[in-house]
Symmetry: C2
Subunit: 400 residues, 2 copies
């Protein structure tokens, strides 16, 4: 049994957070601190880009050196600290060290994340001041400010939390995330932080995080880009005294997946310039991998995304995208449904039904389903958004 | 020696053309006829999309059945005749048959191509009337009307011709093409028709076409899409009495490549919503294949395309795109140059040079060069365009 509750990333017992403004961005909050009451189990998954930002390298290094134990996560927005050479690596390490000094924990128990412009040096004086202020403001109510402080071009903050009833007892999972450009399925390009008050061994937490991410953060796309700074970090405080054994493990995955899915979908809904959330479901594929590949190709197709934006039930673009996805697609046995309305089946269009599909496309939650006609058991869902002139405006004017 | 000349697709001796309006499109010319004085060598390369339009299937079938000999090519715009089932296949066959009847040649010596909206039935009455009119208007001056009649959202017609001096003597190569959305490197999504008055055996013509297409039509991208109707067709009349043997073969490839490159670049320059032509050159790659893959990833990156549109010398997006291309990329030994200005080298930015790069980006011909730092001999060039709000407007409102 999973129930949504308030409280975001600090809903689970044992965590406090704060979000402050230290001046990296021209206005608005830009530094977040998430702190556990003591050393807790930690897990992380990071960008697959060969260019990895300094905070990603430092976070991975600290996870390894601490034996997957962490006390805090410090995050800044406005500066990605990527492509900044040895000085950038020093800055990311100092960001962790300063946080450790303020909180009285070893630096390797501090995980670091950054998001914003690439190739600009991090202003350490501002970061140090921000850490000092945030450390003094930590609270169970700090989740809202923290979620705001990690935003870049996101239109709104993203938080979610649930309670989970497991064989071992009830525990809580919380989280916060930011988008909203450079979003692509491997790994979805964003920052997300999950917390739980369940008692979980580090390796089990890492395994659960991997499972929860696979069909949530790794199943979204805004623009097919994969950033240098992607990170999903999970912390488990154990404060609920509910210990996750193998019997309770599925409930932990389910709880983390519930929070991750809510945050992942919120990232897409708040994608740069997005006006519609599009759920692309592929069925009838040779395999799950083939279904995922087809769903991603469709979800990243500019022609599909612009057709959705224009409210055009253009099944031809969906068929063309499926046809170039590099997986088995049999038009003569395929089907295309938009909002449940079948526009194409077994090689032939049903354009008399286009008005019903067009009505569905006027909404903000769009459902596209494609049967590849390969007759296999493979199916997958990918979430994407429409492509608007606003996306172009944002990215032609904003320096990532 | 290769020299540009006027005359487009009918510049080579032995060809006539016409472009007429038959009413498939609301306004403007929409049917083109390209006719040789008799049966000539023919070659073709077609879309790799698993969904292939009826005219693609018929053209491939006719090439095979005629032994790569053709007398005419008939093309309509405004209707792709794709995803139209058995009736669509009948319509494409009838389009060839009617042309054959008008010209007095067997139907399998007529190649067919269509471009426009997917999933709409071809109006055969209009097509028949158009063929009749076009057959009566064939001339050496018809190349301009023919190039206009194959356009969809293209902002201008695309024609080019050259004379080539070879060991066997001087011959001519001409061509016309249309874009301008659904353009992606394998196979670049467009129609192109090349002619030559050289005397070339069909198999040699097919081989030359494949070579000429590889680093021209297959090295361009507008939006990463691959259509159902792509086709490049070449006809060789032999009217120059210059016979292409192995000694003259490189000159034939060079001539076809010269015309194909001009048309390919023109397609990108006239890409939907494009305001800038971007040449992406990748060097220092492990292999040619790796260089091509990196160049395509960069050329299709929405963040790169919007940065170019906004005149932003954002080398960070170039580095991020190279890093996710799935080929060896070593940031510590890599370099990024925009308009010859080195903005990033050996892991470090040179943002003091950004103003010079920004000045280059205000032009309409943009040069981007990336050294992947892998130290290998691989290099490749891909042409793309910027992504503008106009692209979104065109594709949100236009039914392909």
């Amino acid at each position: 049994m999973i129930r949504s509750i308030d409280g975001g990333v600090t809903a689970p017992a044992g965590f406090r957070a704060a979000g402050v403004r230290c001046g990296i961005k021209k206005a608005d909050l830009d530094l977040a601190l998430l702190v556990a009451d003591g050393p807790v189990s930690a897990a992380g998954v990071f960008t697959t880009n060969q260019v990895q930002a300094a905070p990603v390298l430092v976070a991975k290094d600290h996870l390894a050196r601490s034996g997957h134990v962490a006390t805090a996560v410090v995050v800044n927005s406005g500066c990605a600290n990527a492509c900044t050479g040895p000085a950038g690596l020093d800055a990311a390490r100092e960001m962790a060290a300063e946080t450790g000094r303020r909180l009285g924990c070893p630096p390797e128990q501090v995980l670091v994340a950054s998001t914003g412009v690439i190739g600009v040096a991090l202003d350490l004086a501002k970061v140090r001041a921000g850490i000092a202020e945030a450390a003094g403001r930590l609270s169970r109510d700090g989740h809202a400010d923290a979620a705001r402080a990690i935003m870049t071009t996101d239109p709104w903050p993203k938080s979610h939390a649930v309670t989970v009833d497991s064989p071992a007892g009830r525990f809580t999972v919380g989280g916060m995330a930011k988008g909203s450009g450079m979003i692509e399925p491997s790994l979805a390009t964003m920052l997300a932080f999950l917390t739980t008050d369940a008692n979980v061994e580090p390796l089990r937490l890492q395994r659960a995080l991997g499972e929860a991410v696979a069909d949530t953060f790794n199943a979204i796309t805004v623009d097919g880009e994969c950033s240098t700074n992607d990170a999903v970090i999970a912390l488990a405080s154990g404060s609920s005294r509910v210990t996750i054994d193998e019997a309770a493990y599925p409930a932990l995955v389910a709880g983390m997946r519930a929070v991750a899915r809510e945050l992942a979908v919120a990232i897409v809904r708040g994608g740069e310039g997005a006006t519609k959330l599009v759920t692309v479901r592929v069925i009838g594929a040779d395999s799950t991998a083939a279904a995922r590949q087809a769903a991603r190709t469709i979800a990243n197709s500019l022609l599909v995304k612009t057709a959705v934006h224009g409210g055009d039930p253009n099944w031809g673009r969906l068929v063309a995208a499926a046809g170039r996805a590099g997986v088995v697609f049999v038009p003569e046995r395929a089907a295309v449904r938009v909002g449940g309305v079948e526009l194409f089946r077994d090689g032939l269009p049903h354009d008399d039904r286009a008005p019903a599909a067009a009505a569905h496309l006027r909404g903000t939650d769009i459902a596209i389903e494609i049967d590849l006609g390969a007759g296999g058991p493979g199916e997958a869902t990918v979430w994407t958004c429409d492509l608007s002139a606003e996306y172009v405006r944002i990215n032609a004017e904003y320096r990532t």
